[in-house]
């Protein structure tokens, strides 16, 4: 949605009243706490906050777009268990959830799990203003109906009889633990959900999580593995187009994909990326108004998987035709010797026109573009390793 221009009504004998401009903020979750950068609608200068929850491992920090003021933060520390912090005043003060996400203990003889950390937060449908979803490591889906104060397991997924077949051995997960992420709520239907699991594949529910159907057809898996097994599927990030919620994009361990519902077979659109760069990466951003426009940030997925910018030359790649072709966008970024990368939650877009893009690096730099990726500038550096970046509009 384009940001509306503000016009004041001039009344006789009164000074024009200026409607408050929305305050743009970039919420940054890092391995050592959270930070907020604020700007006005010009996006030309940014103010960095003091650290929030310094020393906490913060995997996700999100603003509730339904009220523009509430925030949730998924956090833990090296010693203390996982929790969720809540703010009702745009991050000025924080309270801990009364009952953070935790697996329900199952009967004797069944495999039991412990939430290591809450990894992903998603606000619910606008028609359910107090609902939030959380994805955890190891893979688990949780739902709150009281603005994040208490969380219940979504039994349809966490206690699914095929849970073990979907997830495989938990110790085989990604280096920081296997995760449930990319919790997507269809803006047209509060009961229609997608989730992705690394590992475990992409799944869809039409009944708020009571039942699930795998959506992995067409996805490739690592060579010599069996694509019919869900535990070999490793979606890194799945996004839904706000302009057309029937369009899904996916950055997978094995390429970039697109799926047009009600179709069920993913098409690998990363084949048109330059061979020297490849189509492996973690983050993905979809334009909020243009269904065919998206960005990825490739990493080196060759050999032993360095997971760094290919050749030490970082760049975003944009497609304006649904993945038919890609354009490299690296103006302003380091031309060489930059061996960082961007994690799956660490790239985001605002809603302005032209669109602003933001990404955070594993080396603690935050980069921004005010022109849809045509050029980039560094707006913060020397932060801890960045896990997640969210561009939001705060209401005053």
């Amino acid at each position: 949605m384009a940001r509306k221009s503000v016009r004041s009504t001039v009344l006789s004998g009164q000074r024009p009243k200026r409607a408050p401009s929305p305050s743009l903020a970039v919420l940054v979750a890092t391995r050592k706490g959270a930070f907020v950068l604020r700007s006005d609608s010009t996006r030309r200068s940014w103010r960095l906050s003091k650290p929030i929850m310094l020393g906490h491992i913060v995997h996700h920090l999100l603003l509730d777009p339904r009220d523009g003021r509430s925030m949730l933060m998924a956090a833990r520390t090296g010693h203390l268990g996982p929790t969720v912090f809540r703010s009702a005043d745009a991050g000025r003060t924080w309270k801990e959830a009364s009952r953070p996400p935790a697996f329900r203990q199952t009967g004797a003889g069944q495999k039991k799990h412990v939430v290591d950390h809450t990894f992903w937060l998603t606000p619910g449908h606008p028609s359910e203003p107090k609902v939030w979803y959380a994805g955890t490591s190891p893979q688990g889906l949780f739902r709150s109906e009281d603005s994040g104060d208490t969380w219940e397991p979504v039994a349809g997924l966490n206690d699914h009889p095929e849970y073990s077949q979907w997830m495989g051995w938990l110790e085989n997960g990604t280096p920081d633990g296997p995760k449930l992420h990319s919790v997507l709520v269809d803006p047209r239907d509060a009961a229609h959900l997608y989730v992705a699991m690394s590992s475990g594949g992409v799944h869809e529910s039409l009944d708020r999580g009571t039942t699930w159907t795998a959506l992995v057809q067409g996805e490739e898996v690592v060579e010599q593995f069996d694509a019919s097994r869900l535990d070999f599927h490793d979606p890194h990030c799945v996004r839904l187009s706000p302009a057309n919620p029937d369009r899904l994009y996916q950055q997978n361990h094995c390429g970039i994909y697109r799926l047009d519902r009600p179709g069920v077979e993913w098409t690998r659109i990363g084949r048109s990326m330059p061979k020297s760069v490849g189509d492996i990466g973690f983050p993905m951003v979809v334009h909020p108004r243009e269904v065919d426009t998206l960005w990825v940030f490739p990493m080196d997925g060759g050999g032993v998987w360095p997971r760094t910018s290919p050749g030490g030359r970082p760049a975003a790649y944009r497609s304006r035709n649904g993945g038919g072709s890609w354009q490299r966008q690296d103006r302003g970024l380091p031309r060489r010797d930059a061996w960082w990368t961007v994690k799956r939650q660490a790239m985001s877009a605002d809603a302005a026109d032209p669109l602003g893009l933001y990404f955070g690096t594993t080396s603690g730099e935050l980069w921004a573009s005010r022109n849809e990726g045509e050029s980039w500038s560094c707006i913060a550096r020397h932060l801890p390793e960045i896990y997640a970046v969210e561009a939001v509009e705060l209401r005053r």
């Binding site: 090296g78 010693h79 203390l80 929790t83 009364s98 329900r104 203990q105 412990v114 939430v115």
Partner: protein, 85 residues
Amino acid sequence: MKVRIPSPLLSYTRSKEVSATGATLTELLTDLDRQFPGLRFRLIDELDQLRPHMRIFVNRDQVRDLAHPLAPGDSVQIIQALSGG
């Protein structure tokens, strides 16, 4: 009885030493959570296991069994094990 609190949990207790009651460690932790809501889950997971980098000592002995009995004169110390990076 007196319970010594490590620095990561001071945001809950605001004090390095607090008083709590219980005939077992489980009961003591329940009382601590009643006084300082949220503290227990940061220390004990949903399987009632002590989290990997936390330790509890009772009268200088390390204890992992939460059913461990306590006497009124016992001293309990919660400490953080080496962890970080």
